[in-house]
């Protein structure tokens, strides 16, 4: 009970005076809710031809139709489910691998650390986008699940290094030594004593990876490396491009998925910035400056009275 309360208190504390965090979370939550509530918000099947091709936005089709006559508003909502699922799945895979590799490397040290960091560094120096393109091309037209896996398996090294350095710092703390002397099991020291201290960093890593995955997935699918029959924001852009939407003046065809990507990306970036301020107090200025200004104004007012 106290744990739950302190957790809720922590969440409330995170959002207090944190405009970037509030705006970002609202944005992401809103789009997520819209995608989940897609059947309630649109009556059209995203994969069926429901009108003539390239109709501009109208009362019937609020955001127009594609070249193939599919409803774009419906496609954006149903496609958003796929895009967001890929982003969060990739972020989950990345976070798990980065935490496991980083923390065990930092805690065990020695030979384990050397081998794990050698692998990490090799992964780190691969140029990511070309690697993704080659992998995706090699595997053929890959579905969203494979894309999530590829993104997750290639983007953990950076996070692993961050986790390792933080673990090294925590491992030197005396409460870890105390737990060791006490005879605590190694896995308990890692999971119960070290990991909770990494939560804010892990959250930042998760959001950062989700942000990257949204962009990378759209990029891969735009290049035609994804499965074009599955509707997502990336494949919407791919179809818009291949049906020459830009040349025929069908701006709604690419503006809509582009805007969704930009809004989710922007929201995640705002959340990331606000988490950074928690995990790196040196960046924290906003609320303090405001408090200072308020106090300053009060002092000035008193001075005026006197």
């Amino acid at each position: 009970m106290t744990r739950l309360l302190s957790l809720l208190g922590g969440i409330a504390g995170f959002y207090r005076g944190n405009t970037a965090g509030i705006v970002g979370s609202t944005l992401v939550a809103l789009i997520l809710a819209m995608c989940l509530a897609a059947p309630a918000l649109t009556g059209y099947d995203p994969d069926k031809r429901v009108a003539r091709g390239h109709q501009p936005p109208s009362a019937e089709h609020v955001m127009g139709t594609t070249r193939a006559g599919k409803d774009i508003w419906s496609q954006a909502l149903y496609g958003g489910r796929v895009s967001l699922m890929v982003a969060f799945a990739a972020a989950t895979v990345t976070s798990i691998i980065a935490l496991a590799v980083g923390v065990s490397s930092g805690y065990f040290g020695g030979r384990t650390d050397e081998i794990m960091m050698a692998v990490t560094n090799v992964m780190l120096v691969f140029p990511q986008l070309p690697l993704l393109i080659i992998l995706a091309a090699f595997l053929g037209n890959v579905g969203p699940f494979i894309i999530a896996l590829i993104l997750g398996l290639t983007s953990w090294p950076w996070g692993a290094r961050v986790m390792r350095s933080q673990t090294l710092a925590i491992r030197k703390k005396e409460f870890i030594t105390a737990a060791e002397i006490m005879g605590e099991a190694k896995w308990r020291i890692i999971v119960i004593e070290i990991m909770p201290n990494l939560i804010s960093l892990a959250a930042g890593m998760f959001v950062g990876t989700a942000l990257y995955a949204i962009g990378a997935q759209a990029g891969l699918e735009f290049l035609g490396l994804g499965d074009p029959t599955v509707t997502s924001w990336g494949t919407m852009l791919y179809w818009a491009q291949s049906s020459a939407a830009f040349f025929v003046g069908a701006w709604w065809d690419f503006i809509v998925p582009g805007t969704f990507i930009a809004l989710v990306g922007g929201g995640l970036a705002l959340i990331n910035i606000s988490i950074d301020q928690i995990s790196n107090p040196k960046l924290k200025t906003g609320s303090y400056l405001r408090t200072w200004r308020k106090l300053n104004a009060e002092v000035e007012a008193k001075r005026q009275e006197a």
Binding site: T2, S6, K173, E174, F175, T177, A178, A179, E180, I181, M182, G183, E184, I192, E193, P196, N197, I199
Partner: protein, 323 residues
Amino acid sequence: MSDIAEITVEDMVIDFPVGGGLFRKQYLRAANGVSLTLRAGEALAIVGESGSGKSTCARAIARINMPTSGTIRVDGAEITDPGFRQSQRDYAAKVQMIFQDPFGSLNPVHTIRHHLARPIRIHAPKLSSTEVDERIIATLERVGLSPAAQTADKFPYELSGGQRQRVAIARALAVGARFILADEPISMLDVSIRLGILNLMDDMKRDGIGFMYITHDIATARYFAERTAVMYVGHMVEWGESDSVTQSPRHPYTQLLISAVPEAGIRKTRERKAKKAEIPMRTPESRGCPFAGRCLKVMDRCHADMPPITQLQEDHYVRCHLY
């Protein structure tokens, strides 16, 4: 749990690798020829300045560092022997450590209850939750943290430095330790609450717990410990009964330490007790007395040989060429 009566350290040497090249490693000698005995219900104070190897010795006894050579015996069983198979868990039931920094020794994300529940659950796995809870409350009350029930649900940041140190002591008690290695337990606390912690440890000592009390403050060593050992750069230079060592110090370094204790109301122009010099770095190749560089009574042979042990009284020993 078998009670143990004493821990004996004999001729312990601890070397640390400090960089060096690919083929030749360089070592720092953190402890050299340290021999001491800890007894149940008694306190041994280890006095010395920063870097004198006090903490290193304690960490070796707690089995965090392995000594390079020498033996550590617990009731006759040699824990440094590679054949010694007793797990950390059983050993932990006997020897615990308290640290200097009360802010680093408790995990900021866990409650006080967690800090005490873990040792109890590890060492008495058969207890039910309510029994564990009762023990937590009893232990907290034992170290003077009442109301215990409220304290148990607090997080470390809600406690003061002195209260945190009491929690650290409670954690050692919860394990059921017979010996506590206290590594400068009061040096980071306010002067006003130091005495409270010392008195708490004194009570525990009366209950039969043995202490190794590491400090740089020779005045509290005399207050708390029956026996005192003075260390300088990894060497024990003078040791014996606390009163004897602090009242009639014989080694020039002990005399320097005593003269450094400020006395109220007296602003004496002190005579110079030591030369200004850097504290030397000791390597396995170093020869002679480690204090030779700063000693005012230095002789030629001080630079060449390590002085032998001289017995001054029944329980008062010194390592100096003067005696």
